[in-house]
Subunit: 338 residues, 2 copies
DNA sequence: TGCTGGCACTCACGATCGAAGAGTGCCAGG
DNA sequence: CCTGGCACTCTTCGATCGTGAGTGCCAGCA
């Protein structure tokens, strides 16, 4: 177990390094933080911290920089989440409040998050699987062709074409529409399959094929996983990485384009609060020198999707975590209102 | 007017520079292209080309590189559009053919374009203004609250909430729905305003307010310009820019995030064929060292949106133009089918 | 036991210098 | 009008060499 002072030294190292982006030495440390001890003492502490793997030297006789393990300790034990200031909170609310539809909410959220954290922002569209159905609409495009429109409580709209095995009359259509909505409106997606199972039985034999087709299309839509779209923004912030970044930025941009990778990344975070994955904790190789700060958000208390930021391991964790948490909270409010 | 040989020299310079990314000298030129003349002669030609502003030297006593004006001449007069090979065409068709809905078509198009050209791809969603209406649906969410759903011939769906000035009965709703569709289904967006103008008159006085509200919401939706969404991809290709790119990549990434800038960029190209804007021809400062190759696409013969790529001025113009043209063509086919 | 000042040592970094090489412009001759 | 030759210009690269930040270790002191 590390002594209290050594933890303070680690905290100071992280803070200074995040600020200056340069390895920090013992002398500079004692000057900028009043630790009450001499540089020599700090050197001893640093040696101990290095033995434990919390910090490292880029080369002999240079200052120390935190390792992933060091950041991890910092995040877990040494730093809290820095709350947003009141003006910041107001700005967030104003900015998000101006959104006109779901696409706009997501687009604004990405911009906002990127600007607040000065990093790359990632926002997942509200996931269907935990949402509820607001309305299901059926439109007749041709005698044997329907369009199925699903509207969710988060304002999302999905449409599907349905080719019917047999022509389907207007009255049957109205009937199906009414029955369908009375059963599933307001219900969670997960519950829908059980609720519509026996629906075909209520129809004439000739219409049952079509009803079944419609239902299976509906269920397909509900589970459609490729609909887990996400939006990223603020990639220009990657250029703040550092001087050495040509080698760093490439794999990050590549990883960011792989939506699958990002979805997995966000999905891994099970923590109900803000989750931080640091450097090599990220499974994807291209993100080994980045940290991901993410959190779930959703209308009401329940998380329906994730959002977060991707940045260098050398980031302002308390500030970033605060921003991410605040944005998630307000997005949730906006979604609940609409 | 430049002599034939000087044009060939310019062409050779462009080709070599695009290939090697290094300034090209007179000796290397004569070795790689059999121009039938000696380096000394080429030097004279180069001096002339430099006087005319087609090429420049980064510093005294280095090879020459093409200027924006040089690329312009190359694109206009010296290079054709390189057609895709048959296997490439098949690959494009296969890749795009697998798309399940409009979002997927656009997403695949971006990926494809980025991979083919190894540059940043930009695809604008099919624009509403030139599309036609497939169907308008009205849903009653509450006594005085409707949802308006607009379905276009390109498969796009837009929804809007409508707060009615007065409660609106189911029968009036059905009436409005029917009248609306009989008038606008299959018509071009541009024609819709004139077609629905007198619609309120067909309703009882108490419903006219609501009908007007619905209509104005519909018209708003049609002209909504912020709905000119676009998708970009392949940003990782920016890292291929060169060694000096930290300064170059930043403003480009920033410009790419400004959707307004990109939309203007694509919008400016009025040419029915492939349009190329080189370096400083782009109004936006951040894109002064890039070229934009764009083309319109759409179902049927008519262009409903643009797509293109953004890359360094030092790009393979014939190949890029070929790829952009081919992709646009096949996307158009896919859209026409669905 | 733990902190401190002192001291020798190690390297990265930046500046200076010089040789090498690529490329040019110009000129005289074919 | 083209060509070979030649002197000249500059960038690039490597080597050399201080400089200075930072370290590790040690002996002394509370």
């Amino acid at each position: 177990m590390l002594s209290e002072r050594r933890l303070q030294v680690l905290r100071a190292i992280v803070q200074d390094y995040v600020g200056t982006e340069e390895p920090v030495g013992s002398k500079a440390l004692t000057e900028r933080h009043n630790l009450g001890v001499s540089p020599a003492t700090v050197r001893n502490d640093m040696a101990a911290l290095e033995d434990e793997g919390y910090i490292a030297q880029p080369h002999t006789s240079a200052g120390r920089i935190p390792t992933d393990k060091g950041y991890r300790l910092f995040v877990d034990k040494l730093a809290g989440v820095k709350p947003m200031t009141a003006p910041e909170r107001r700005a967030i609310q104003n900015f998000l409040g101006g959104a006109v539809d779901l696409d706009d909410v997501v687009a604004r959220t990405v911009r906002l998050l990127a600007q607040l954290t000065r990093q790359v922002a990632v926002v997942q569209y509200p996931s269907l699987t935990r949402s509820t159905v607001r309305h299901v609409e059926l439109l007749s495009l041709a005698p044997a062709r329907l369009m199925l429109v699903l509207i969710t409580d988060t304002g999302r709209v999905e449409q599907r074409l349905v080719d019917c095995p047999a022509p389907f009359g207007e009255s049957s259509l109205a009937d199906l529409r009414a029955r369908l909505n009375s059963r599933v409106a307001g219900r969670r997606f997960a519950d829908v399959p059980g609720l519509v199972e026996d629906l075909p039985e209520a129809f004439e034999a000739e219409d049952r094929g079509t009803v079944s087709t419609v239902l299976s299309t509906l269920l397909e839509t509900l589970v459609e996983e490729n609909e887990e779209r996400l939006v990223i923004g603020g990639t220009a912030n990657l250029t703040r990485f550092g001087h050495d970044f040509p080698l760093t930025i490439r794999p990050v941009l590549e990883a960011l384009e792989e939506q699958v990778v990002l979805l997995k990344l966000l999905g891994e975070a099970k923590d109900p609060g803000v989750t931080v994955r640091i450097g090599h904790e990220n499974a994807h190789e291209g993100l080994n020198s980045t940290s991901v700060v993410s959190v779930g958000y959703g209308s009401g208390g329940e998380a329906v999707a994730k959002l977060g930021v991707v940045g260098p391991t050398r980031m302002d964790y308390p500030g970033t975590m605060g921003a991410v948490r605040a944005v998630a909270r307000y997005v949730g409010q906006i979604l609940a209102e609409s």
